[in-house]
């Protein structure tokens, strides 16, 4: 084993442990929120909203990082990646997250992950220093991730030309060079990641401009909302794509099936997805009638269109890889398969909500957390945990499907479905999201919150078992010498 690959392995193992610890902490915050809504415990609104802000930002951060860790690790098969940049991103992420938790818990910063303008300037109950510290912590995270993304992209373009990285040569018959699907998806996703991070940088600069101008410069609320959702929606979508890149690369390998080949339609689908994803965020502004109608309609059409390449290519490919053939099932490809199913079902909920005439009855109700928790908690998280298992077992252990694994998966599925159904039913009952406690008129709210908390705890138990299995192997990797 050479020194470079050991260093990459160690940093990846470190990432995985940190990500899972933060994941468990954030799930606990989520359960506390549902318990408070269910009136089982009593927290002040300020505590509830600092928990909510921390939960949202941490979850987005760690699952984005998890996708990047996996892609960085697998990219080493094709191109040489920089260990220094990976380490740099890790250090900045840790500093950024620590600062974030300081702003929320010591500074009582509680604007939600959306930090919609001008709420951070009128955040009641928070310390005055928390807003600038929040912006600084976002800057640190943004710089770390931007450098990482640009570095990975630069490495890809050292080996592949522009056309090859985007697999454009596959539009012609009999291309001479084959682009691995993994390279195409990674390139396409990195483009989106960079765009979303730049949107975040612009938001931060505009916030700082107003902060330091002492009222001479005032931002436009509509522009800020557009930019914040450009950042938030796009990065949340791209982290799913990072997970899909991993599936394209290793699903065949772990299943004893041939590796997926690049074709013209895979190339077309991902190139389309790259464009669609950058304008789909308009669906967050349907209820802002001031946004021009053309953009609203584009928002709905693009949200629909974005589902076509995913469904017709990725879902179809995984179905084709499994249907009617003998597959060596292990925890890894089971998690991948389950994750794709969760992703599709969450996507159905998302398409329903992305329809303007439905959105007027669903916008900012619990339907919204319902669908994004579906493709995160039951989609993207499973992609990443699948990768973590594969990564941790390939050097330390053998992949076997034990009885315990089957029980854990059952817990995960039962917990996941129960906690998501509590969200969906509440959404259909017009229960608003982001309420620390429910007004007495909304009778089903507290009841469903209790159900949600119960099932989320079952989900947490499954995650704890996964964490134990993965972390113990990661520690073995961390203590390995380069012998």
């Amino acid at each position: 084993m050479n020194i470079d690959s050991l260093k990459l392995k160690k940093i990846s193992a470190l990432w995985i442990i940190v990500i899972l610890v933060l994941f468990i902490a954030s799930i606990v915050l989520g359960i506390l929120m549902r318990l408070n809504q269910g009136k089982v415990i009593e927290q002040s609104p300020l505590t509830f909203y600092t928990n909510m802000t921390t939960h949202g930002l941490t979850m987005i951060g760690i699952w984005f990082a998890a996708g990047m860790v996996a892609v960085n690790y697998l990219l080493q098969r094709y191109v040489k990646t920089s260990y220094g940049v990976n380490l740099f991103a890790f250090i900045l992420t840790v500093i950024g997250v620590v600062m974030l938790w300081v702003t929320t818990y010591a500074g009582k910063f509680s604007t939600g992950w959306t930090f919609l303008y001008p709420l951070p300037f009128r955040d009641l109950g928070s310390e005055s220093w928390s807003t600038p510290l929040f912006l600084i912590s976002l800057t640190i995270l943004g710089v770390g991730w931007l450098v990482w993304s640009v570095s990975l992209m630069a490495q890809i373009f050292k080996k592949y030309t522009l056309a090859q990285a985007f697999a454009w040569q596959h539009f012609k018959s009999n291309p001479t060079v084959e682009t691995p699907p993994f390279i195409l998806i990674t390139t396409v996703t990195l483009v989106g990641v960079i765009a979303s991070l730049i949107a975040a940088v612009i938001v931060i600069v505009l916030y700082f401009a107003e902060y330091f101008s002492h009222g001479d410069f005032v931002n436009d609320a509509l522009l800020m909302k557009n930019l914040i959702y450009f950042f938030g929606h796009t990065i949340a979508n791209e982290m799913l794509y990072l997970g899909l890149a991993v599936i394209y690369e290793i699903f065949g390998e772990v299943s004893d099936r041939p590796k997926w080949k690049m074709t013209w339609y895979i190339s077309l689908a991902w190139n389309c997805a790259m464009v669609f994803i950058l304008t789909a965020f308009f669906h967050h502004l349907y209820m802002d009638f001031v946004q021009p109608q053309a953009l609203q309609i584009v928002g709905q059409l693009v949200s629909y269109l974005a589902s076509i390449p995913s469904a017709a290519v990725t879902v179809f490919s995984i179905v084709a890889a499994v249907y009617g053939v003998k597959v060596r099932w292990s925890i890894v490809n089971l998690l991948f398969f389950l994750g794709v199913a969760g992703w599709v079902i969450g996507g159905l909920g998302a398409v329903i909500d992305a329809t303007i005439s439905n959105n007027i009855m669903l916008h900012n109700t619990l339907w919204v957390p319902a669908h994004f928790h579906t493709y995160n908690a039951m989609g993207n998280v499973l992609f990443s945990i699948g990768f973590f298992y594969w990564f941790s077992t390939q050097y330390v252990d053998k992949l076997v499907l034990s009885k315990l694994t089957k029980y854990t998966l059952t817990l995960l599925i039962v917990g996941g479905i129960g906690f998501l159904m509590a969200f969906y039913v509440a959404g259909a009952n017009s229960i608003p999201r982001r309420y620390s406690t429910y007004p007495v008129e909304l009778t089903s709210g507290p009841y469903l919150a209790k159900v949600g908390a119960l099932f989320a705890t079952i989900y947490l138990i499954a995650i704890l078992i996964f964490f134990y299995n993965i972390a113990k192997r990661c520690f073995v990797i961390l203590s390995a010498s380069s012998r």
Binding site: V325, A428, P439
Partner: protein, 183 residues
Amino acid sequence: MQQHSIMLFFMLLVGIGTIFFVSIFMSSLKADNDSTGVKNLLKKRFWFTLILIVVLGIFAAATLPKSPYFTYANETPSTVIHVGTMQFSFFLSTKPIDPKSPSGETIEIPHDQLVEFRVTSFDVNHGFAVYDPSMRLITQVQAMPGYVNNLRYKFTEPGEYHIFCLEFCGTGHPVMQTTFKVI
């Protein structure tokens, strides 16, 4: 589509999806070493994509005209209700609201008449969501500082309607509410 038919439609889709994925998974368990899987993959993929595009196209064509920007656009409202929002209260008035000293009044709206809510915010982003007497969300719009959003609606059922804030606006977000009557 009302919320409960949306939920029913969604559950139907989830059911189909679950059966689909479970049967795919089961087929792989049953398969032996000689099984070859799906044949004519490209052709099937083509038909699947085509059907998906047609279904989504029909869905878009059916739903887009029902968007709130187009409903009641050709009618003249019988009343205007001015809505001012602030952390953490609503001001509803038939008269324009002075942002410097906002005040509201008790609102009664006659049923079956078109009403136009002119919604704005005096501080941060808020939501203006109207719940009918059975506590079902029937319409909503965002309240954004610097802008006025015009929401038109025709109430058919008399009774007490609630208004809740549906955009997170700070610690008092869940207590921000008011009511009006439809007569």
